[in-house]
Every structure is written in structure tokens, then in C-alpha cells.
Amino acid sequence: MKTLKELEEIRQRTLESVNLRKDRTGARVVVGMATCGIAAGARPILMTFLEEIKNRSLNDVTVTQTGCIGVCRLEPMVEVYLPGKDKVTYVKMTPEKVKRIVAEHLVNNQVVQEFTIGATEKND
């Protein structure tokens, strides 16, 4: 059974990294979390982002949610905001796509064009 004491240890361990990130404004990942998004599988998408971010120690990336973006047939949808860059909307997300977006977009600053709403709408 996990205890709150472990939490205290985590606190000690992370205190340093938290102080470092205060003045940094990193990327923001926003997952559509309305009924349409949830039914289409938004939660595993969000969980995969969390997992990848943790594994790569990308401590300045924020993961958050939004409501219905309005194109329910393309859910699960994710919006990625990088400081100083235009918003990128990824559609019909899968955990595999998340891994590539983290590696290519969040880490290497390269938009994964083929997963974007623009590319998907053209093919449909």
C-alpha cells in the first residue's frame, strides 16, 4: 500500500527541478475532453502523453484539456502550442501517433504534417 510518506520523498526529489522550471514557458498540449472526445478515446491519448513526457523528463511541457472543438468526427483531437509558433491541430489520434508527436514535434520541433487536420481533411 502506498503512503503519503512516499509523497514527501517525491517532494524532496522534485523540488530542485521545479525551481528550475519557474521562468521557462514550455509547450502546451491540449486534449479535447468532451463526450465526443472521451467516447473516441481521448483518455488513453492523454495518458500516453503523460507517460512519454515523464519518460523523457520533459518537465516544461503542460498537458491539459478543452471541451468540444466542434469537429467530433475527427476525435480524438489534440492541439499543440509551442511558444512563438502557430497552433497545430492533430486529429484521429492513437497512442502510436502520440509517441511520434512527442519525439518529432515536442522534442525536435518538427510538425508531424501527416497527422494534422489539414492533411487528414485533404485525404478524406
Binding site: M1, K2, L4, E6, L7, E8, I10, R11, R13, T14, L15, V18, V31, M33, A34, T35, C36, I38, A39, R43, P44, L46, M47, L50, I53, K54, N59, T62, V63, T64, Q65, G67, C68, I69, G70, C72
Partner: protein
């Protein structure tokens, strides 16, 4: 919705949209009486009589991005399918409570699904909201209160990946415990 944890994630989105700062989820599995209770209470902006009457109507929604609102109607249909029902209580300006009860072993009762992922998602995406999650199986109880966690972590943000990860395993272990070691 594939399972109860997704229904719950969806219903709590209504509390978030209603600007709640405190949300309580209680799940009670009464195995002797074969009854399952899911109770969600928030301190959001609440609904007036008219809005409350229309809340279970799938063609009613307050959002502008689409014309349907399926969260509560889908959940109500599920509860009724399982020999139960949903009761809404709301006071404008005070908050809303969704009480539901249905047969635990009903053949149509969806599985619980991944409750730790639902709670973790809610805390991660809404770090300013206080969540209380109580899960009872007969007389055994698991309780998570984000205020207790905040007290320990101090100035570490609750949405920090390390903290979120701890919360996830804390819930997972806690649920395992009240289920007698099986999940």
C-alpha cells in the same frame, strides 16, 4: 461509453464547465444488496428548474460548438438499462448533485474500467480544482482528497508528472485493497 470510468469522466466535465472548485465522487458497491451507487457533487454554478428539466434531453446543450449534449442522457440510459435511475439535484449558484443507483450484477452493467486513469486525468487537467474520491466496497473504504496531497507536496504543483504518477498508483493500490486484492 465503454465503461463506468468513462461515463464518470464525462459527467465530471459538466461540473468543470460549471466552474466548480470542489468536486466529490462517491462510488459505493453494496454487494449484499446488489446495488451500485455513483454520486457526483459539485459547487459549480448550478442550474435553474428549466435547465435541470432539459439536462437529460439529448438535444439540449449549453455549448455552441454542436447541437447535442449526450453525456447525461447516455449515463441515464445506462442506469435505467441496469434496473436503476439517475436523480438530479441542483440549486442555482450553489451546485449540482447527480445521484444514481443501479443493479451491481445486472448483465448490462458496464465494467468499472480504469478509474485511476479517470481521476488522474481530472487532476492533471484541472490542477486548481479540489477532488475528493471515495470508493466503498461493502464496509471497506478508499479515499483520496487532493487537499491532503497538497498539504504534503507544498509548493510542488500537483500536476507535476511525478506527483500525478504517484496518485495513479495510489488509487490503483487502494482499489485493489478494498477489493480484497483482486481488481
Amino acid at each position: 461509453m465503454q465503461d463506468l470510468s468513462l461515463h464518470i469522466l464525462d459527467l465530471i466535465q459538466n461540473s468543470i464547465a460549471a466552474d466548480a472548485s470542489h468536486i466529490e465522487l462517491t462510488i459505493y458497491e453494496d454487494k449484499d444488496k446488489n446495488w451500485l451507487i455513483v454520486d457526483i457533487e459539485d459547487n459549480g454554478k448550478g442550474m435553474d428548474e428549466t435547465a435541470m428539466r432539459r439536462a437529460t434531453d439529448p438535444f439540449y446543450t449549453t455549448r455552441s460548438t454542436r447541437k447535442v449534449g449526450l453525456g447525461l442522457p447516455l449515463f441515464t440510459a445506462m442506469a435505467q438499462r441496469c434496473g436503476g435511475d439517475v436523480v438530479l439535484e441542483s440549486i442555482k449558484g450553489k451546485g449540482t448533485r447527480i445521484k444514481s443507483g443501479f443493479q451491481l450484477n445486472h448483465i448490462d452493467r458496464p465494467p468499472f474500467g480504469n478509474l485511476e486513469d479517470t481521476i488522474t486525468t481530472l487532476i492533471l487537467c484541472n490542477p486548481k480544482i479540489e477532488f475528493v474520491y471515495i470508493h466503498k466496497v461493502n464496509n471497506d473504504e478508499f479515499k483520496l482528497d487532493t487537499r491532503d496531497i497538497r498539504q504534503v507536496i507544498g509548493d510542488i504543483p500537483i500536476e507535476h508528472p511525478e506527483i500525478i504518477n504517484w496518485i495513479k498508483s495510489y488509487i490503483k493500490d487502494g482499489l485493489k485493497e478494498i477489493n480484497g486484492g483482486v481488481q
